[in-house]
């Protein structure tokens, strides 16, 4: 169960809790839209399998991620009719080491490979081709720190819910703290893993999809945080300022995972 009662709008956006005072839009017109993606762990498994060695059968992955989603919906008190965007993912054991290193050397290349697998005619571009080593860390107590610890020891599977939209990064952090320890705020590890599993998450021909912030992480660069976003039919890893403000374009993931 969450610590608080939560409510969703008709398009599956978690409405900000009344105690949140950091910049957030109280209502959304849902102008920036994810593509229509059904929860389809079978298809996700195939994408993952092209990039990572996954030590689970397809059936096990499907069953475990369905259970995770069911738990999340129950704990959030989500009505059966309420649609929320959820993507299953797998992260291999990353081992000891620095988060920025893992991102630069393992996770971003994996996202690139998965995007190329699905869209050979388009590009994944790392728009920040500088060393990331020692520049990233998980924020303590927001969940991504637990995920980082877990993948040091072994692989995980999880489900990421894209329910926090039109929140500043700080407001997303405030909101996730209210959800309780069963939920974590997404960052470098889970968002990269999600894009391996669902490379078309930000591929939208008719509407502009939102940007995905690494809100569960912080960096040594005072004014910038990092994100994935689309540029037309292409996908980018980049950084941006003004994450302390709210924009219709911002979105954040909420994750639940289990160790394998």
């Amino acid at each position: 169960m969450t610590k608080i009662d939560v409510t969703f709008d008709s398009r599956g956006r978690l409405e900000p809790h009344s105690t949140i005072k950091t910049p957030v839009h109280l209502k959304s017109r849902n102008y920036f839209k994810f593509p229509d993606i059904n929860f389809d762990p079978t298809s996700n498994y195939k994408n993952i399998n092209l990039v990572f060695d996954i030590p689970l059968s397809e059936n096990e992955f499907v069953s475990e991620t369905k259970n995770l989603l069911k738990e999340c919906r129950m704990d959030l008190g989500v009505d059966k009719k309420q649609e929320i965007l959820a993507v299953p993912f797998f992260t291999p054991r990353l081992g000891e080491g620095d988060l920025g290193d893992h991102l630069e050397k393992k996770l971003i290349p994996a996202v690139s490979q998965s995007y190329k697998n699905l869209f050979p005619e388009y590009e994944f571009k790392n728009e920040f081709p500088h060393p990331l080593s020692e520049h990233f860390k998980s924020i303590s107590g927001l969940g991504h720190d637990r995920l980082e610890s877990a993948v040091t020891l072994g692989p995980v599977i999880g489900v990421c819910l894209f329910i926090i939209r039109e929140y500043s990064v700080q407001a997303a952090r405030d909101q996730v703290k209210l959800l309780g320890e069963g939920f974590g705020l997404s960052g470098a590890i889970d968002l990269s893993s999600v894009l391996v599993s669902q490379p078309d998450l930000l591929f939208h021909k008719d509407d502009y999809p939102p940007l995905l912030w690494f809100s569960g992480c912080e960096t040594t660069w005072e004014h910038a945080n990092f994100h994935y976003e689309a540029y037309g039919y292409n996908l980018m890893f980049n950084r941006r300022v003004h994450y302390d403000q709210v924009a219709e374009y911002w979105s954040h993931g909420v994750t639940r995972f289990i160790r394998l």
């Binding site: 500088h130 950084r239 941006r240 300022v241 003004h242 924009a247 219709e248 374009y249």
Partner: protein
């Protein structure tokens, strides 16, 4: 590597761009320093908009898609309206230049109307101060022969942005309602090359044009000549208010994004050396109208304040606080967002004199609920 160095935008400049910047540094080191500082400013969360200055709306053309049509005397006459609002003069421009310099802003575009018909054009350049700011002029090209190009260069203008709305002569002349204008643009391109003025061509993208052979041919021509092609999405404002069919859809914008990989073509949404500004309203551009009102882009006729009454810094801050214009969006607000287009048309239709003053269009407590 320091954090700031690491965050600097990708500076792998093309050889041509590096040469241009080197030349500017030799001639105008103060401006070169300011331009070089823009990346650091942006990384620190500050903004560095280009200032478009519309001192006069006088024009020798009457284009199908003119965003300034409702500011022109000929339109006010039709509406039997007299514009008795105070106008910016040279002193106001000098003060604007001073405030902009203080904020680290470095670029002015003289626009209109047609700047090259302004009798006081040289005086405006001087008031902006071409040793403190990088001065660009828009033009339809009609009066840009070689003599004029050399003169512009001699008074401190660095760059010309010239309109070419079709690579097919008859289509361009028809869209611009001016026979012979295509040939004048071609002459202007040669004049810029001869005089050493930097040049970009600008073209209006209407719905479906991105898929045409004509557009591809124009992109190829510009790439072959080494001239950047700036693509402006058609907006349903000014004389194009009654042309909603001009408005592009996402497919048009995405086709253009793909063409950027192949040609020297870009829009205001195109990343520049690693900086993805998205919609540049306030962050990348502002317009100062002849009455000193500051609008967030050339096509939005709603003001964030009057520079003759409110400090520029505060006006920019209003823009960054506003949910429509700040801090970031990846699409063109007035060219692609149907709800904002509707809001804009509803609000501006109530006003004979544009832009709509701050508080009546954009406002402090703005929200999306106004049109939701």
């Amino acid at each position: 590597m320091s954090a700031t160095e690491a965050l600097m935008f990708d500076k792998s400049l093309t050889a041509g761009e590096a040469k241009k910047r080197g030349d500017l540094r030799n001639r105008k080191p103060y401006i070169a320093d300011k331009l070089a500082a823009i990346a650091d400013m942006e990384e620190a969360g500050e903004i560095s908009p280009i200032i478009r200055l519309e001192k006069s709306y006088l024009c020798n053309f009457q284009c199908t898609h003119c965003s300034a049509e409702y500011y022109m005397d000929r339109d006010l006459k039709k509406k039997e309206t007299i514009d008795d609002r105070p106008k910016i003069d040279m002193e106001a421009i000098k003060e604007l230049s001073r405030q902009a310099d203080e904020l680290g802003l470095a670029r002015f575009v003289i626009t209109g109307g047609e700047p090259l018909v302004m009798r006081d054009f040289d005086e405006v350049v001087a008031a902006i101060d071409p040793d403190k700011h990088y001065v660009i002029t828009d033009t339809n090209g009609w009066f840009l022969d070689e003599v004029r190009a050399f003169h512009l260069k001699s008074i401190g203008v660095e760059k010309v942005q010239m309109s070419l709305d079709s690579f097919i002569e008859e289509e361009h002349d028809s869209f611009r309602n001016k026979k012979g204008s295509y040939q004048r643009v071609m002459r202007g391109i040669d004049a810029c090359a001869a005089s050493g003025l930097n040049l970009i061509l600008s073209t209006c993208l209407i719905n479906g044009r991105a898929k045409t052979k004509e557009f591809r041919d124009l992109c190829q021509y510009c790439t072959d000549r080494g001239v950047g092609l700036y693509v402006s999405y058609a907006k349903p404002v000014g004389s194009a208010t009654d042309h909603p069919e001009f408005v592009i859809d996402k497919e048009d914008a995405d086709i253009l994004r793909e063409m950027e990989k192949e040609f020297l073509v870009f829009s205001h949404m195109t990343p520049s050396y690693g900086s993805y500004k998205g919609c540049i309203t306030v962050k990348g551009i502002i317009t100062v109208t002849s009455t000193g009102e500051i609008t967030p882009c050339p096509y939005i006729d709603m003001s964030f304040g009057n520079v003759m009454q409110t400090p520029l810094k505060e006006i920019l801050a209003r823009g960054m606080r506003n949910p429509w214009t700040g801090p970031h969006r990846p699409d063109c607000l007035i060219g692609e967002d149907p709800a904002f287009i509707k809001l804009h048309q509803t609000v501006t239709a109530k006003h004979k004199l544009l832009p709509v003053p701050y508080g009546e269009g954009f406002k402090d407590d703005d929200s999306f609920d106004r049109i939701a």
